[in-house]
Symmetry: C2
Subunit: 309 residues, 2 copies
């Protein structure tokens, strides 16, 4: 069995070692621009370089090493008509939960404000926010969204979730479908964006929808920059209608040096680190699925190309 492997960062050592451990029967071939490669059975990649298409011609499946497959699906019909399999959690759920929980608690407990006060050498208790005014809504209630909701539940925030199809999550007000999106957003103090980027979700959080949040609301985006209308968010924060945002993803990454977000202290920027792909966990999961496919079994997490995730 031959596996074609591509890493955008060009660092292969850990990945080759993990495949040697979890799938020792496979021959793993590192893809390189211009290198002649014999046909492979499976491909493992995230953001595909254009030149890789010819080498995907004979694969039986493509495994994406991230949760989001938007970069891969951009290739559209150029991709061979084989299953595309996305990573399911693989250690990303807990990382997302850490990131989002930290940001929500930071806002709710006013730790940013306390930091400002302390830097002035002031001992000053600030009025506490009321949890009843701090409804947190999670856009996207799949494996990762559910993990985040599970972490937030422990702290007693009023919770909402929105997903494409109906879900039933204990202690969470669940909304679904386009018709319920505005009701979901209405009055949220914090919206957490965890949706896949698809033609249906692009620009979902625009000025009209962001204006449904509670005054003083916050936006946390850990999904894809394309879900959020960046100038609209900035305008609402500058106007004081929204209180701030914590953003891990952007339209253009790295976020360009001249982007106005850098100059806005109410926007917290992290460089797409909310959930890193963990090499060991990813290779373990992909190896299991490859073996199942080789035995002719069905595997989970096959992307629906029409839905885009």
């Amino acid at each position: 069995m031959r596996i074609l492997l591509h890493r955008r960062d060009g660092v292969y050592e850990d990945w080759l070692a993990a495949f040697a451990h979890y799938l020792p029967e496979a021959q793993v071939v590192v893809w390189e621009e211009g290198k002649a490669i014999d046909p492979c059975d499976y491909a493992v990649l995230f953001v595909p370089p254009p030149g890789i298409l010819a080498d995907l011609a004979k694969v039986k499946a493509i495994f994406c090493t991230g949760a989001g497959v938007d970069a891969l699906l951009k290739l559209g019909e150029q991709l061979p008509p084989v299953p595309i399999v996305r990573l399911a959690d693989a250690g990303m759920g807990v990382q997302m939960a850490e990131y989002v929980t930290h940001a929500v608690l930071r806002y709710y407990r006013r730790f940013d404000d306390y930091q400002v006060v302390a830097r002035q050498g002031l001992w000053e208790q600030l009025p506490a926010y009321d949890k009843q005014d701090f409804t947190v809504g999670v856009l996207g209630a799949g494996a990762l969204g559910s993990h985040v909701i599970g972490a937030l539940r422990h702290f007693g925030f009023p919770l909402r979730a929105w997903s494409r199809t109906p879900k039933d999550l204990s202690g969470v007000a669940c909304y679904h479908g386009p018709a319920q999106l505005d009701s979901f957003l209405q009055g949220l103090r914090v919206v957490v964006c965890m949706l896949p980027l698809t033609p249906d979700t692009a620009n979902l959080l625009d000025r009209a929808r962001l204006s449904l949040l509670a005054p003083g609301g916050y936006v946390i985006n850990v999904a894809r920059g394309g879900l959020l209308a960046e100038p609209d968010l900035l305008a609402l924060i500058t106007a004081g209608q929204l209180a701030g945002a914590t953003l891990d993803v952007f339209r253009n990454e790295p976020l360009p040096p001249q982007h106005p977000f850098w100059q806005e202290p109410r926007i917290t920027i992290t460089p797409h680190i909310s959930a890193l792909t963990l090499c060991r966990e990813a290779v373990e999961q992909i190896s299991g699925k490859i073996r199942a496919m080789a035995r002719g079994e069905l595997v989970a997490d096959i992307v629906n190309r029409t839905l885009g995730y």
Copy 2:
């Protein structure tokens, strides 16, 4: 039934309203320096003003409106020999869990470092810490400590707890008693101090004990300033042996303007807000206990004056 009420901040409105709601049969008397007061049946207070002692002479019990009774017990034998009852949780557990979880995640996910990098306009992924190197130990495994441990457990940190008497907490390495304190501290990346301040625990975290933490370790103190040798902590941080501290409590509060902690950016200071007494929850709990006592029943959370909590 007459209840003597004292609030250090002099703000009584919410407390009187809550007692009117939860214990309407009681007459609540606000204590004032120099005011003649008829004997009361119960006293409700936190830090007692010296002049209040005479008015405590005939009470049947003293209810403390905080979790820590060290300020009250300082009066020693001047206090009447009646039960002293401390507040049990009453909404403080979840607040402590919020505060501590936020601080642990902030350190573990390097959000302080990311803030520094972002302020320079840099897009730079920092090496992630390994959770296996991030053992969190909670000193004090009572109602509040258990609540904090429950929140941290969700994120998969290796956990330890230390308490005076043996405890058994699922998924937590439990230590107890003075003989096991050093083993508990050895190699911790984060120590969370949640102990009562008693003669046995004063200065517990001194240079020798803090030196047992892992290099690059962190201290979170949400209990009492007297548990921590402040100059020792500062010296270890300045020397780079410890990486930082998040402190909500101090030897002297408000923290004096000239205190060196204000000048150390690796020390995060908050003004004793990790868990505020929630008026409604506190009065509901105290009212229930007063009624039980009036019926001659035993109540929980009576302070052991010898142990000091």
